[in-house]
Amino acid sequence: MDGKGEDLFFLSNGHISPVFYSVLARRGYFPIEELNTFRLINSRLQGHPTTHEGLPGVRVASGSLGQGMSVAIGAALAKKLNGDDHLVFSLHGDGELQEGQNWEAIMYAAGNKVDNLIATVDRNGQQIDGATEDVLPLGDVSEKFRAFGWDVMEIEDGNNLEQVIAGLKEAKSRTGKGKPVCIVMTTMMGNGVDFMMHTHAWHGKAPNDEQLATALAQNPETLGDY
């Protein structure tokens, strides 16, 4: 857990902490029962992820958007300096790419050949106030990264785990070739729950008990361990 001799993952869009915590718990970083403390007083599971409470698996605080790309690049540089051939992965919201810091970092990564970094973009087209293309159009994200000198891949259905895993494998094979690698994943926010899809309305809102029951009924393959 000291960042050396291991792959690293950075969550830049910290507001998706529920899914981050859920994955960390199920990968054994902390007990699954602790998920029930999310956002409660004295919890290690803060509203946005932080190292401050000592939660295993979190490497840096995120929540104020647009900082994760820079931190991931720094960690990737440290790996190069240390002769450590493990990789750095990062996840970014598409709306978050409106933050200018990203583009300075994206430029830096290409200019400095940070080719041990795989940045993934959750291109769901939605952000808290509406569709990304209505709020502040991002246009062709892939072309933007290419124009900045990155090796860019696309995953057609980012909600399809088989495609995601195959895409990540492909991305790993493209590291070490002089360019940072980006995967733009086209996704659906609220995928699998009919009333949550095709809208930004659930970006920052939890369902009530009835809505939860409806949503779970539409997803029989849930983990059932919460």
């Binding site: 605080a61 104020s64 991931a72 690049i73 720094g74 440290a78 970092a105 830096y108």
Partner: protein, 254 residues
């Protein structure tokens, strides 16, 4: 730059991130706050061109708020050395300190008077000249000015104690209290806004433990402007003459 520095620490590196003080603090405050301070990263922010003495570039580049911004961040150490030798010693010392540090220094050529081999101890104020009538607590470029003022005051029969407060956070409360208990009044001197700087930190210590008259040699909630360093220090009341005047004023309040 601050984000990348935070990332470098995750691989065990000790990054020294350096640019003009204005761009090393105000411009990137949120990045420092979240990715460095809140995340507890071992980054050393080394900021040059602090304060008015940057000179002709003017107020866009002259930050007088940086000490306040940095000292308010939990876990951040704030250091403002006074000359070349002390800056060099502090740079070496902060490498051994685990945790985020803000090291602030200036642009102009200033007197280099601290001993070349003096070890730098974070948080340990340095007694430069003992006295009995008034305590002058100075930081950064104002330390040399305080020594000049003390010399002139000596000729007027006033015994001034000069202490170099190179570390603003953590503050050496004991050194300050020991001195003020002896002299009964204090002048703080800094190339920074009087709001949020060394003076306010000292006022907090005194108010809590030993209330005493205090005068602030600092900028008075204003931006800077273009000029030579000497002209600016004169105009904004940050030189030996301003310290002398503040001493005469505070002595009357004892």
């Amino acid at each position: 730059m601050m984000g990348i520095a935070a990332g470098l620490t995750i691989g065990g590196k000790i990054p020294f991130a350096s640019t003009f003080a204005n761009f090393a603090t105000g411009r990137v405050y949120d990045q420092i706050r979240q990715s460095i301070a809140y995340s507890g990263k071992n980054v050393k922010i080394c900021a040059s061109h602090a304060g008015l003495t940057l000179g002709e570039d003017g107020a866009t580049h002259q930050i007088l708020e940086d000490i306040g911004l940095m000292k308010m961040l939990p876990g951040m150490t704030v250091i403002n050395p006074c000359d070349y030798n002390q800056t060099k010693a502090a740079t070496i010392a902060i490498a051994d300190h685990v945790g985020p540090v803000y090291l602030r220094f200036g642009r102009p050529k200033v007197a280099n008077f601290t001993p070349v081999d003096q070890k730098f101890e974070i948080g340990k104020a340095l007694m430069l000249s003992e006295g009995t009538d008034v305590t002058i607590l100075a930081t950064g470029h104002l330390v040399w000015q305080a020594l000049l003022a003390a010399e002139s005051l000596e000729n007027q029969g006033i015994s001034a104690e000069v202490i170099n407060i190179h570390t603003i956070k953590p503050l050496d409360d004991k050194a300050i209290l020991d001195s003020v208990k002896k002299t009964g009044c204090v002048v703080t001197s800094e190339e920074h806004n009087y709001l949020g700087g060394l003076g306010e930190s000292v006022a907090r210590v005194l108010a809590t433990h030993h209330p005493a008259p205090q005068e602030f040699v600092a900028t008075q909630d204003t931006f800077g402007e273009s000029g030579t360093p000497e002209q600016l220090m004169e105009k904004y009341g940050l030189n030996n003459k301003a310290i002398e005047a503040a001493v005469l004023k505070v002595l009357k309040r004892k």
